[in-house]
Amino acid sequence: MRLSGRGIVTGLVTIFSLASVYILNTGNATRLILSLLTFAGIYGLSAIGLNVHFGWTGLLNFGHAAFMGMGAYVTLLLVPHAAGREGEITTSGLHIFPAAVIGVIAASLLGLLLGLPALRLRGDYLAIVTIAAAEIFRLLVRDLEGLTGGVYGIISYSDSLQKYRPKLLDSLLKDIDASLNQVWVGVLAWFSIVIVLLILRRLNNSPWGRALRAVREDEDAVRALGKNAVWLKLQSFMLGAGIGGLSGIFLAFNYGSLQVTTFVPLLTFYIWAIMILGGVGSLSGPVYGAVVFWVIISETDKIAGLIFENANGQQLAGVRFALVGLLIMLLMIYRPSGLLGKKEELLLNVK
């Protein structure tokens, strides 16, 4: 791997932010950092998927939460679980691995379903359609209580993943104050990131990847060369949606119980902030973006403590999200290429 100056700076920023968490939180730092890295892994994976849409192909997807939700719901409903008001228990179910594969495929198919009509639309219209589609998905999931558990959510599914937790992990973390379940999900998420990045790097350098970037730069030129631009965009949409679905599965297993409120539009905006922070169009950028983002998020509670005495949950959330909004604005205005992005690959100036 070639090391550019920018890459070194990004690595240093990431390490520095992790170190600052370690210094600022004496006592429970290890637990905090492990939790933070798990979230960063999951959100980073999701942002990699979003980057395939926006960074590679220039598709303005604001419905990423729906893809994550689709992956999570399909997988959880296939494995043994309990759902709904009465906590109705389903003991029979698939093995976690085929269930997750079906979940990812379902997320891709949702991408196909949404992409087929929507990709004909211009950028800003696509943004409105995708955010509306994600809301429709969320409203339907909430409403179809018989199928999805509705507002009561899904519980008791963690075992299907946790029973494969290696003994090695248990003995390694024996003396450390950390949630074993969470660490196992985090390990799997980071492992998936590595696999996905290897696949994407391969794809990026293939003729397919070059054609995709060409679609982003000039769709008409791609058409003139006899490539099917719409089909290329659809493939990219499905690929990114599938990656999003995979991250949604990890998110569900990280929480241990699934609520439909997890997949509100704000989740999509979190992922956007991570992608922009890491660098639009850069392959591994979202990973660094996710770590730095979660460090910022985990330290905002201290800022809330400065403003309010004994801040309650609502005030903490308020400060946290207000800062996310501010971060998105400032990045977009002053540093749209993020930590690792290439300015020349930025599609934001298209009219």
Binding site: L60, P117, L121, A127, F269, W272, G318, G325, M329, K351
Partner: protein
């Protein structure tokens, strides 16, 4: 179905008044303003702040107590405040971005960040509870065949009047004509001696004032929440798109139609017991319209793909 018509018209008038602002702003600046919903909320929240008795505890910060003004005066000041904030946003944020030739997509993302920021500032300053204006309860009466409370009837008429006035303003006044000229072509308008910066500033102010008014209506008819802006934003988009994005009269009609659709859809047979999902109907209509007739019912055909 008919008993929902009144509710539908009320929701429709809220959406229509705010859609006109969004649509006008899009036409003149080509910005899809995701923060429009927060201006709607600003109208309601500031009216609540101005009109609530001084002793009531609305805010986390004890230093600020509500003003306890007369309700009518509060509405007036709230609308002025919305216009002022809209102008500030244009002068301090969007004009510099435009001068720096930042692309539309980047500006769209900026408006999303802005909306998240403002919405959570509301959450920080208000107590996050559902609030209501200090208004008395009224009984529903039947006007023609629509069941409404007298106050809601007045709101409906006021909303229709405002839309009529806006229509006249755009059609007959010099400023309104200039706005439409800039919407059609900024360059041509500049050549004709129209100061497009000034026009865009007026559009921001007007659009924000309309949004604020819609928020006050929403607060009077239903209630006031810190996140009411985002809850209604997607419906505003639906109304705007249905009528044809960039058209003012289309947005009015589209907004009214979406409101009526949303409320009457509750009476559809397959919606029984699924009233929570009624907003999905409006969003579904919007997506179908975008696919079948992307220029909307009243829009002119142009390339949108």
């Amino acid at each position: 179905m008919l008993d929902q018509l009144g509710n539908g018209l009320m929701l429709g008038v809220i959406i229509a008044v705010s859609s006109v602002g969004l649509s006008l702003l899009y036409g003149v600046t080509k910005i899809v303003n995701f923060a429009h919903g927060e201006l709607v909320a600003l109208g309601a929240i500031s009216t609540l702040f101005f009109s609530s008795p001084e002793t009531s505890r609305l805010l986390y910060l004890d230093r600020f107590s509500p003003l306890g003004l007369d309700f009518g005066i509060s509405i007036f000041f709230a609308i002025l405040l919305c216009g002022f904030i809209g102008g500030i946003l244009e002068l301090l944020l969007f004009r510099p971005l435009r001068k720096a030739e930042v692309g539309n997509i980047a500006v769209l993302v900026v408006t999303i960040g802005l909306s998240i920021l403002i919405r959570h500032l509301y959450l920080l300053f208000t107590t996050g509870k559902v609030q209501k204006f200090p208004l008395d309860l009224q009984r529903r009466e039947t006007y023609l065949f629509i069941d409404l409370t007298p106050r809601n009837m007045k709101i409906l008429l006021a909303g229709l009047c405002v839309m009529f006035v806006i229509g006249c303003f755009l059609t007959f006044t010099k400023l309104g004509k200039a706005m439409r000229a800039v919407r059609d072509s900024t360059d041509l308008a500049s050549i004709s001696g129209i100061n497009s910066d000034k026009i865009i500033l007026s559009t921001w102010v007007l659009s924000s004032m309309l949004a604020g008014l819609a928020g006050i209506f929403q607060g009077m008819i239903n209630d006031i929440r810190w996140n009411m802006g985002f809850l209604i934003l997607l419906l505003i988009f639906a109304g705007t798109v249905l009528g044809g994005i960039g058209t003012s009269f289309g947005a009015m009609a589209g907004g009214l139609l979406i409101g009526v659709f949303v409320q009457t859809s509750v009476a559809l047979p397959f919606m029984e017991g699924h009233t929570e999902a009624k907003n999905a109907v409006a969003l579904g209509i919007m997506i179908i319209i975008l696919l079948v007739r992307p220029q909307g019912i009243f829009g002119r055909k142009e390339r949108i793909s």
